[in-house]
C-alpha cells in the first residue's frame, strides 16, 4: 500500500505542476506585467513610475523563455518559486503572502468547518430519517423540498437570508466579522446556516439514494430477521456500508475548507481566503492568485490521497496495491 500511496502522491505533484503552468499561461494571456503595475500603482501614474514598480517587483524580466533568456524569464522564475513555496509579496499592496494566508485562514476555517460538520451531520441524519420513513408522505415531502431547495441559487439564499434574518427579525448582524470570542458566534451563525441550508438539498438527495440502495440489500433483511433494532440496522449496517460513496464526497470537501467559500465570504463580508482570492482577481494581483490556486490544488491532491487511505479503512475489500 505504501508504494501505491507514494506513486499516487508523485502523480499528484505532477498535476500540481501542470496547474502551475496552466495558471501562468492563462494569466499572462490576459494581463501583462504593465497591467499588474498599473493596477498596483494607480491610473494617474506616469510611465517611468510604472517601469520603476516593475523593476522593484521583478516584473521587468521577459515573460516567456526566448533566445538569450532561456532561464532568465518570468516563467522559469514562477515555477521555481512555486516549488519552493516562496510566494513573495502581494502585487497589489506589498503584504507578504504567507502573512495574508495566515490571517485569512482563520476566518475561512471558522466558516467552512462548522458548515461542513453541521451540513454533513444534518444531511446524513435527514437522509437516514427519510430512508427509514421511505414511501410515506414524509419521504415524498422531503424529496420534493430537496429538489425545491436545489433549484434556488445560493445567491438568492444569501439575499433573502440576510433580508429576513438580519433585517426583519434582527437575530444576527447582517454581515461582517470579528474574531473577538464575545461576538464571533453572532457573525458566523447566519452564513453557516445559509451554507448548510443551500447545500442540504443536493446532499439529502444523494445520501438518500445511497441509503435506499443499501436498504434493499439482502444483509439488511437478514439483520432484521435476526432481530436487530431498526436503529441498529440504520446506523450500524446501512450507514457503515454506505461509507464508501459518502467518504468520497466528504473527504473531497476537506481541502476546500481551507480555501474558503467565495460566495459566502463575499456576501457576508468575511475576510477569509475566498474573499482574498476574489480581490486578487479583480486587482490583477498575480502573486496572490497563484499562491491561492497552488494551495487549492495541493489541498485537492492531499484530499485524493486521504480518500484512498480512507477507502482501505472503511471497506476491507479494497486494497490499494493495484
Amino acid at each position: 500500500m505504501l508504494a501505491y500511496l507514494v506513486r499516487r502522491s508523485a502523480y499528484g505533484l505532477f498535476v500540481v505542476l501542470g496547474v502551475i503552468f496552466f495558471l501562468f499561461v492563462l494569466f499572462f494571456t490576459v494581463a501583462s506585467p504593465d497591467d499588474i503595475a498599473r493596477q498596483a500603482v494607480g491610473p494617474k501614474a506616469m510611465p517611468e513610475v510604472i517601469q520603476q514598480w516593475k523593476v522593484n517587483h521583478g516584473y521587468h524580466l521577459p515573460v516567456w523563455p526566448g533566445a538569450g533568456h532561456l532561464s532568465d524569464n518570468l516563467l522559469v522564475d514562477h515555477v521555481q518559486r512555486m516549488i519552493a513555496m516562496d510566494f513573495g509579496k502581494s502585487d497589489a499592496d506589498g503584504v507578504v503572502i504567507w502573512e495574508r494566508i495566515r490571517q485569512g485562514m482563520w476566518p475561512s476555517f471558522f466558516l467552512t468547518l462548522p458548515m461542513f460538520v453541521i451540513g454533513m451531520v444534518a444531511s446524513i441524519l435527514t437522509s437516514l430519517f427519510v430512508a427509514f420513513f421511505r414511501e410515506t408522505y414524509l419521504d415524498r415531502w422531503v424529496v420534493a423540498l430537496s429538489v425545491l431547495a436545489m433549484s434556488i441559487p445560493t445567491l438568492l439564499y444569501i439575499i433573502f437570508g440576510q433580508f429576513i434574518v438580519g433585517t426583519l427579525l434582527r437575530w444576527f448582524p447582517v454581515s461582517g466579522f470579528d474574531a473577538d470570542p464575545a461576538v464571533i458566534l453572532r457573525f458566523l451563525t447566519l452564513p453557516v446556516l445559509i451554507g448548510v441550508v443551500s447545500g442540504l438539498g443536493s446532499s439529502v438527495r444523494f445520501f438518500r439514494t445511497v441509503f435506499l440502495e443499501e436498504i434493499h440489500r439482502d444483509y439488511v433483511r437478514t439483520a432484521r430477521a435476526k432481530g436487530a433494532s431498526e436503529m441498529r440496522v440504520m446506523f450500524y449496517h446501512v450507514l457503515r456500508n454506505s461509507l464508501v460513496p459518502i467518504l468520497t464526497q466528504v473527504v473531497m470537501e476537506i481541502p476546500f475548507l481551507f480555501t474558503g467559500s467565495l460566495l459566502l465570504e463575499a456576501g457576508f463580508g468575511i475576510p477569509g481566503l475566498g474573499a482574498a482570492t476574489f480581490e486578487a482577481i479583480s486587482a490583477n494581483d498575480f502573486s496572490t492568485l497563484r499562491a491561492m490556486v497552488f494551495l487549492g490544488s495541493l489541498m485537492f491532491i492531499v484530499g485524493q490521497v486521504l480518500t484512498d487511505i480512507g477507502y482501505t479503512l472503511v471497506d476491507p475489500r479494497i486494497r490499494l496495491d493495484a
Binding site: E135, H216, L263, G296
Partner: protein, 348 residues
C-alpha cells in the same frame, strides 16, 4: 472572439437559421425515439410521471423560440430611432413602444416616485424597471438567454466529454493517462477562479461565457463515461467484434456509444440546471451574460431595501429562474429513475 458580421440582417439570418436547425434536430430525435420500442416506453413513463414539468418546460422553450425568430424592419418609434434598423424578434415587436421614464408598479397609472402619469397607464402587467422597460418583456427575453446558456454549453460540453471519456476508457494506457492528467489538473483548480480567469481571457460575449462554463464542467461527465466505457469494454459482444476484425471506430460508434446514450440524456438535463445556476452566480460577480435572469436579480437585489419596496424586478426573475430549474430538475430526476439501471433497485 468570433467576428460575426455586425450587419443586423446577417444576425437575423443566423438566428433564424439556428431556430430552424434546432427544430429539425428536435424532429429527427423525436423520430429516432419513437421508432425504438424501449425508448418510447421509457419516455412515455417519464411523460406520465412529470406531466406538469414538461408542460412548463415547453412553455419556456416556446418563449425562447419566439424570441429567436428575428427580422429587420418596422416603423420608427419616437423614443428609439435606431431600433427599426436592428433585428428584432416576435417578443420585441409585441412590446414595441412600451417604455416609460422610470419605475412603475404593476398595473399602475402613475410613475412610482414622482407620481407623474404614465405614457401607457395600466398596460404593464409586472410594472417597469429603472430604465422604464416593461418587466414582463425583460423577463420573457431572459428565457432565451437561459436556454442558450444551458443548451449551448451542454452541446459543447457533452460531446467533448464523451469523446475524451470514451476514448480514454477504450484505448487505455497512454491516452488514458493523459486524459486523466488533464482532468485532474482542471478539477483541482477552484472552479469559480478558473471561470473568472477564462472569461477575462475570452471576453464577455455570450459565446465566451458558454465556452468558459463548458471548460469548467466537462470533467464530471468525462469521468462517468470513462468508467462506463471501462465496464463496457469487457463485454462479450465487444470482444467478439474485435476478434471479427471490426475497427475501433465502428465499435465505439455502434456498440459503446448507444449504451452511453441514457447517461448522455440524464447528464444533459442535470448539467443544464447546474449551468443556469452557475451563470446566475457569475452575474452576481459581474461577469454574466447580458439580459439573463441572474443579472436582473443582481441589479435588483438592492431594491428590496427601498421604502416602499420595489419587488417587481427581483420576484419575476427569481420565479422564472426557479421555475425553470425546478422543472428541469424534476424531469432529470424522473429520467434518471427510468433510464439509469443503478437506480432501479430502489424504485418506489
Amino acid at each position: 472572439m468570433m467576428e460575426l458580421s455586425n450587419s443586423p440582417s446577417a444576425q437575423a439570418m443566423l438566428s433564424n437559421g439556428i431556430v430552424v436547425s434546432l427544430l429539425a434536430l428536435g424532429g429527427l430525435a423525436a423520430r429516432a425515439v419513437l421508432r425504438n420500442e424501449l425508448w418510447r416506453a421509457a419516455f412515455a413513463r417519464v411523460l406520465g410521471l412529470r406531466r406538469w414539468s414538461i408542460v412548463v418546460l415547453s412553455l419556456y422553450v416556446a418563449v425562447a423560440l419566439l424570441d429567436s425568430v428575428v427580422w429587420v424592419g418596422g416603423s420608427m418609434q419616437s423614443e428609439d430611432q435606431v431600433a427599426s434598423f436592428e433585428a428584432r424578434s416576435v417578443i420585441d415587436r409585441l412590446f414595441v413602444d412600451t417604455t416609460e421614464k422610470g419605475y412603475s408598479a404593476p398595473m399602475a397609472r402613475v410613475e412610482f416616485y414622482d407620481k407623474s402619469p404614465l405614457l401607457h397607464p395600466q398596460r404593464h402587467l409586472l410594472g417597469t424597471n429603472i430604465l422604464g422597460q416593461d418587466v414582463l418583456y425583460v423577463t420573457l427575453k431572459g428565457a432565451r438567454v437561459a436556454l442558450l446558456i444551458g443548451g449551448l454549453t451542454s452541446l459543447i460540453t457533452i460531446p467533448l466529454a464523451l469523446f475524451f471519456g470514451m476514448t480514454a476508457g477504450y484505448f487505455g494506457r497512454r491516452w488514458d493517462d493523459l486524459v486523466f492528467f488533464v482532468m485532474s489538473t482542471l478539477a483541482s483548480m477552484p472552479g469559480i477562479l478558473l471561470l473568472i480567469v477564462l472569461i477575462m481571457v475570452l471576453g464577455k460575449s455570450t459565446v465566451s461565457v458558454c465556452v468558459a462554463l463548458g471548460v469548467t464542467s466537462w470533467v464530471g461527465f468525462c469521468r462517468l463515461s470513462r468508467g462506463e466505457t471501462l465496464k463496457l469494454r469487457e463485454m462479450d459482444y465487444v470482444s467478439a467484434a474485435r476478434s471479427l476484425g471490426v475497427s475501433h471506430g465502428k465499435i465505439l460508434l455502434r456498440h459503446i456509444l448507444p449504451n452511453l446514450m441514457h447517461l448522455v440524456i440524464i447528464t444533459f438535463v442535470l448539467l443544464f440546471s447546474g449551468l443556469v445556476l452557475a451563470e446566475a452566480t457569475l452575474a452576481w460577480l459581474g461577469i454574466g451574460v447580458d439580459g439573463s435572469w441572474g443579472q436582473m436579480i443582481a441589479v435588483a437585489k438592492d431594491e428590496l431595501s427601498r421604502d416602499p419596496v420595489v419587488w417587481w424586478n427581483i420576484v419575476p426573475a427569481g420565479a422564472a429562474l426557479f421555475g425553470l430549474l425546478l422543472s428541469v430538475n424534476l424531469i432529470g430526476d424522473a429520467l434518471r429513475d427510468v433510464l439509469d439501471p443503478r437506480t432501479w433497485g430502489s424504485q418506489d
